[in-house]
Symmetry: C2
Subunit: 119 residues, 2 copies
Amino acid sequence: MTTATSPRALEHPSREQISLEGVLHALSDAVRLRIVRDLAREGDALSCSYFDLPVTKSTTTHHFRVLRESGVIEQTYQGTAKLNALRKSDLDALFPGLLATVLTAAEAQADRQGVTERA
Amino acid sequence: MTTATSPRALEHPSREQISLEGVLHALSDAVRLRIVRDLAREGDALSCSYFDLPVTKSTTTHHFRVLRESGVIEQTYQGTAKLNALRKSDLDALFPGLLATVLTAAEAQADRQGVTERA
DNA sequence: ATGCTCGTACGATACTCGTCGTAGTACGGC
DNA sequence: GCCGTACTACGACGAGTATCGTACGAGCAT
């Protein structure tokens, strides 16, 4: 509260620091995969409160942090809210087609399971 | 143990039981990703002892089991050895292009990092 | 200012995972 | 039969993770 007040800096890995293992691990959780799917569907930055996740706020923060630290999303402050955006260009540059393929696979799996129970 | 070809039955998930999260998690470990890469490069079933991994036998067994239980590989006994093969057709049917994309990404990352240290 | 909402930090807990060593089982060769 | 090779099972241990509750801070509205 002395000097660095306004921009609460969020740590993001640079493009070179993003590892495939880290990205895959970040995507290997159902909650996080759902976040990424929503992000991709909207195609725009979304606030954390946009998501209606089956976990508490603390856990939500944790998952967003995992996604950010693995390089999957970018977080920026927007007043009291925090906007989350996919790092699509970085991911596509590093691992061409990976994001799209995973997203397609996630949709396909959701369709397979969603036939019986629709939410 | 006369009629049955394989007395020691290995548990494999059926195609429907394979989950995207499970596959991504299986691939999010460096050792396992390397195994899958080797398997894909050879394009054929390989015995566990083919791989020269930087871990002990126990750990190797563990990783192969994770890969098998997630549905990424299929293991069959061949005498005293155990053959490991990618479940390429199952994975392609469930998540089209996923395996190829991840493999390509892994190669790309290996190239980026392998420029300095070549083994 | 006061309060409200959004999100964070911290601590706690229980569970999973990666790793190992040792002991054991199955198969094939001598 | 006996031994070596290939792999497994089991137990252990440290590290990481997913979860929560509670307390706190930052910004917006009144």
